[in-house]
């Protein structure tokens, strides 16, 4: 059960990611969480997705986060939670216990009759091509979004012809 250590590692890294007061530390812990997650994914047989998770989740997102932190300035967030800590803890634990009691233990599935292919590329480019196409839409929409959000609107009055 050596995988247990990965799980514990994920928990610690995830916890640190949200507990570190300094923004840049948060981002780094998140990268570690992501890396450990991708290891677990690899162990589950999702080779390609693990690579993508490693590059996008641990790589791109961290870079973007660091970039954003650079713009807003790396600060130490010492604010006290608005929702009382124990109330939040209570709510989350209640939810987890309730969910967990209905989810664990899980059975090994007996769906071996499912005919669906287990090849990633075929699934992505042929069967679920619509999802892939929608990713492109999402990408373009978000590009528009970032452009729109970053645009300088101060010249609005200047351009008005009326």
């Amino acid at each position: 059960m050596w995988q247990l250590f990965i799980v514990i590692g994920i928990c610690i890294a995830g916890f640190q990611a949200i507990e570190s007061k300094r923004l840049s530390h948060s981002a780094l812990w998140l990268a570690l969480t992501s890396a450990l997650t991708s290891w677990l994914m690899y162990l589950l047989g999702a080779v390609e997705a693990a690579v993508i998770e490693l590059s996008v989740g641990a790589g791109v997102v961290t870079i973007l986060l660091v970039f954003a932190i650079n713009i807003v300035g790396d600060q130490k967030d010492e604010s006290k939670p608005l929702v009382p800590k124990y109330l939040a803890m209570f709510i989350i634990l209640t939810a987890l216990v309730m969910l967990g009691s209905m989810l664990i233990p899980i059975q090994q599935a007996d769906f071996l009759t499912v005919t669906s292919t287990s090849v990633f590329a075929k699934s992505m480019w042929e069967e679920r091509i619509l999802d892939t196409m929608l990713q492109i839409v999402l990408l373009f929409a978000s590009v528009l979004g970032v452009l729109s959000l970053m645009e300088d609107r101060s010249n609005e009055k200047k351009d008005q012809s009326s």
Binding site: M1, V7, I10, C11, G14, A17, I18, L23, S26, L30, S34, T37, L40, M41, L44, G45, A46, E48, A49, I52, E53, V56, G57, L64, L65, A68, V72, Q75, D77, S79, P81, L82, A88, M89, L93, L96, I104, P105, I106, Q108, A109, F111, L112, V114, S116, T117, S118, F120, K122, S123, M124, R128, D131, T132, Q135, L138, L139, V146, L149, M150
Partner: protein
């Protein structure tokens, strides 16, 4: 009671989920909220792969995981763009400072 590997992964998923939601409740800094959301996303992606593993459809699961990774990176990017603008406007990233619209 022995824990199987899928059970372990599920525990990791639940832990990531719990941590993420807890953070969403208690964290006030927008950038850290994005981090919290990402933690949540890690949990979900792991669950997708686990489901693929259990149902013997790992290819489809990977394809789905890829979509989720892309979609949530995009959400994170938009969140960062908004946070940057908020910082410019309000000189703060604290959720209590951006709570003018209320009641």
């Amino acid at each position: 009671m022995t824990l199987t590997f899928p059970d372990l992964v599920l525990i990791a998923v639940m832990a990531l989920f719990g941590i993420g939601l807890y953070a969403l409740l208690t964290i006030r800094n927008l950038i850290r909220i994005i981090v919290a959301l990402q933690v949540l996303v890690k949990g979900v992606i792991l669950l997708i792969i686990l489901a693929g593993y259990l149902t013997n459809q790992i290819g489809m699961a990977q394809s789905m995981a890829l979509t989720v990774i892309v979609a949530d990176t995009i959400v994170a990017v938009l969140g960062m763009a908004l946070a940057v603008q908020i910082m410019r406007k309000k000189k703060s990233l604290d959720t209590s400072d951006i709570a003018e619209l209320k009641r």
